[in-house]
């Protein structure tokens, strides 16, 4: 192999780092995209391999190669798991900058703005990554900066901010997963929405026999950042006879998108609504879990389910 292409001026500095990635693949288990699609080419290692191929000229800077680079929720779990110390998301961002200059932008997970945008500019102010701006005609997203945290979706009053490729973490997909679980498990009681940092890796890519899962009374669904939790999503499981809903988010100072604080407000509002209609507000809870604290997360879930067992179903 010889170096052929030198146009990746941002990416090129990572060539040594890309070689030091030993491609062990230990980043797979943490990646919500890989878990959703099951394709290795959607896993973090694939992006590193693609970045390397782009620099060496072995991968054409095509739309599909670019789409891989622009598909990432920046949860950074892969980075935390990498013992080779490869700063994956920094590399992805630099690859994005170069690809944008070549006119390649995804679509990936970049948030977009639909025509029904009222140009209220709320999303511009709310974006924690300064990715959204008003260009004189409408709201544009800088695809190199957007980290797909989804805060713009949550704050947009017109529903014009969208992420097209959610990899199983979009509102409708989550509602479908929740209702499937609640409707097919007799013992089902709770839905746990967890941001990818609070979530702990359970089964990565395997499926248990029915005999092992049919008595499950809760289901954990990864919604990426807690800032993407909407009242509609949190309430949807109750329409399918859930006894309770829990949201797991990062501790106050740990969220890279400030989405946890937004989630806290939403849950508090819903709890007040429950109170006003004589439903025990304890049926909807928010817990804050430091990244990787599996024991605490499991303990919170167990306590919540015990509490629901004492309350019984909503009548």
């Amino acid at each position: 192999m010889e170096n052929k292409i030198k146009e990746f001026k941002n990416l090129e500095k990572w060539q040594g780092t890309l070689a030091s990635c030993i491609r062990c693949g230990y980043c797979f288990e943490h990646c919500p995209m890989f878990k959703h699609t099951g394709w290795e080419s959607d896993a973090p290692r694939a992006k590193i391999i693609t970045a390397f191929g782009l620099i060496t000229g072995e991968v054409e800077p095509s739309e599909s190669a670019a789409d891989k680079m622009f598909s990432c929720f920046y949860c950074k779990r892969c980075e935390a798991a990498c013992s080779s110390g490869v700063p994956l998301t920094e590399i992805f961002t630099d690859a994005r900058k170069d690809l944008v200059e070549m006119g390649l932008e995804g679509p990936g997970t970049t948030s977009i703005t639909k025509l029904n945008c009222a140009r209220c500019l709320i999303c511009v102010g709310a974006c924690p990554h300064e990715a959204r701006n008003y260009d004189g005609k409408g709201i544009a997203t800088d695809p190199a900066k957007c980290q797909a945290c989804g805060i713009c979706l949550e704050v947009c009053p017109a529903g014009a901010a969208k992420i097209e490729n959610n990899f199983g973490t979009g509102r409708d997909e989550l509602i479908e997963k929740a209702s499937n679980f609640l409707n097919t498990h007799e013992s089902s009681k709770a839905i746990i929405f967890a941001c990818n940092w609070s979530y702990f890796p359970e089964l990565q890519a395997s499926v248990l026999p029915d005999s092992e899962t049919r008595d499950n009374n809760y289901e954990i669904l990864v919604n990426m950042c807690g800032g993407r939790l909407e009242p509609y999503l949190l309430m949807a499981p109750f329409l399918h006879n859930a006894w309770g809903v829990m949201a797991a988010v990062c501790p106050d100072d740990d969220c890279q998108h400030n989405g946890n604080l937004r989630a806290k407000k939403i849950v508090e509002t819903l709890r007040n609504t429950f109170k006003s209609i004589d439903i025990d507000p304890e049926r909807i809870q928010l817990v804050q879990i430091p990244a990787g604290d599996k024991s605490l997360f499991q303990a919170e879930i167990d306590t919540f389910v015990d509490k629901l067992n004492n309350m019984g179903p909503i009548r």
Partner: protein, 477 residues
């Protein structure tokens, strides 16, 4: 490249389970080894029947098929050097049965090792081979490579745990090999032959595996040594003493530095350390084994010997060991960790000499090599840390591993203990097995007369991996 009927493949597995975009093919062209080559298509079957149909199509058209699990192989087993269909088995990922009464489980090949153990844990049992890559390694991949790991010193390798399997042959036929029993003397036991065959004989679509009880007590110790030779001799003495450690690992100064840099484990930066563990259902028995190992370490000049039952402390050291391979890339910012001659095994009494040889050869060729591994099983890992852009470093690495393998063979060791041969180790493998290569070729022909299953691997692999296969690195001339 032969023309490939993508439409037919899509008919078999569905549109969503076929990929042919060059950017996808490029990703699937490498694994955790140093090699790279492009497949022609990636196909993800979901059922045994689909695997059968794919094999029929491929066999009829002479198209190579390479089965792939987690892509964590370290010697290029899944790198398609003759192109062909990459059969991504990860969608066949169901744990089919956990049978506590008969002490076996049945799984599809795409089940991840750690996932299986998570499912078994609630019943107080575990599947023991567990390589360091168990978080992504699939059972199918582990069978293909006869994977083993830190606990294999006591519990054995994959071959010891496989009771039976269903296999799709190259012509599409489905055969059931082995049984659901602990022992079998009914003929050739072909299921044991499939283990370690690196995808060259058949496609495993279901495996029956045994499991063992999770011990009540586990105690892990660390002993430091000022000389690598002393640590190596302690290993030999422990194993010859009749001790049954559940883990006996060597880490040398290079490995200690890398792990400390990455995970801040606070290991003392000495010439070598031994990590030893005993487990069992009776604490006194575990204490007995640990005391015995401590005393042997002391006798061989081990220092600061400490052992603990504390699960947190054990987990920290265990995780450090599991992540050692990627951590080695942190040893020096300019050096990448490469897997070349990386898992030879020698008799216990030669362990110290091998560790010394690795460092001596590395010094002489001006490269950095590390010696660590599951030495209780006789297995030594020897990663080479080098500037992968420099051709002279590759040349030096090649010379170094040739010398090391010559030594390994001279003491009746073996080229690979647990990672397999793939492409990287073919040269030494062929020398080691020279007088049985014809037999191996005959077996291959009996299973795969058209040579479509993972061609160009094991005894068919090119001998000079540097020149004959593409390296995944960018090497300056």
């Amino acid at each position: 490249m032969k023309p490939i009927d993508v439409t037919r493949l899509k008919e078999i597995v569905g549109e969503r389970n076929v990929k042919t975009d060059p950017s996808d093919l490029y990703v699937y062209g490498s694994d955790s080894s140093v090699h790279h080559a492009m497949p022609w298509a990636i196909v993800k079957p979901e059922t045994t029947q689909q695997v059968q149909e794919i094999m029929k199509y491929a066999n009829g058209n002479g198209i190579p098929v390479i089965a792939r699990g987690g892509g964590s192989g370290m010697c290029g087993q899944t790198v398609p050097i003759q192109g062909g269909i990459m059969l991504d088995m990860k969608a066949m990922n169901k744990i089919l049965e956990i049978n506590l009464k008969d002490v076996y489980c049945r799984v599809e090949p795409g089940v991840v090792d750690d996932d299986l153990n998570l499912a078994l844990k609630q019943y107080g049992v575990f599947y023991p081979p567990t390589p360091a890559s168990s978080r992504i390694a699939t059972i199918g991949g582990e069978i293909a490579n006869n994977a083993s790991g830190v606990r294999s010193v006591k519990y054995g390798a994959t071959r010891d745990a496989v009771l039976g399997m269903k296999v799709v042959l190259p012509n599409g036929d489905l055969v059931t090999l082995g049984s659901h029993t602990r022992v079998e003397a009914s003929g050739y036991q072909l299921h044991k032959l499939i283990v370690g065959s690196e995808g060259t004989l058949g496609i495993v679509v279901e495996a029956t595996l045994s499991f063992v009880p999770i011990p009540e007590f586990r105690c892990m110790g660390v002993a430091n040594f000022d000389a690598l030779k002393d640590a190596g001799e302690a290993i030999g003495s422990i194993m010859a003493s009749g001790s049954i450690p559940s883990m006996l690992e060597l880490v040398d100064s290079v490995a200690i530095k890398a792990v400390n840099k990455t995970m801040d484990l606070g290991l003392k930066e000495v010439a070598a350390a031994l990590i030893f563990e005993a487990d069992g259902m009776v604490k006194e028995a575990v204490d007995y084994e640990i005391d015995k190992m401590k005393k042997i370490c002391e006798k061989h000049n081990g220092k600061d010997i400490h052992a603990s039952y504390d699960p947190k402390e054990r987990a920290k050291i265990f995780m450090g060991r599991k992540k050692l391979f990627p951590a080695l890339s942190k040893y020096d910012d300019n050096l990448a960790s490469t897997s070349l001659a990386d898992d030879m095994a020698v008799p216990y009494s030669k362990m110290a000499e091998l560790a010394g040889k690795v460092h001596e050869v590395a010094d002489r060729h001006n490269i950095v090599m590390t010696a660590y591994g599951h030495c209780g099983s006789g297995c030594m890992h020897t990663k080479i840390l080098m500037d992968t852009k420099r051709k002279d470093q590759w040349d030096a690495a090649k010379k170094a591993i040739t010398e090391i393998y010559e030594y390994v063979r001279s003491v009746n060791g073996t080229t690979s203990a647990e990672h397999g041969i793939g492409l990287s180790k073919a040269e030494s493998f062929k020398v080691e097995k020279a007088d049985s290569l014809n037999l191996l070729a005959g077996i291959k022909k009996a299973f795969d007369p058209n040579n479509i299953l993972n061609p160009g691997k094991l005894s068919q692999a090119p001998e000079d991996w540097v020149t004959a296969t593409n390296l995944r690195y960018s090497v300056n001339s």
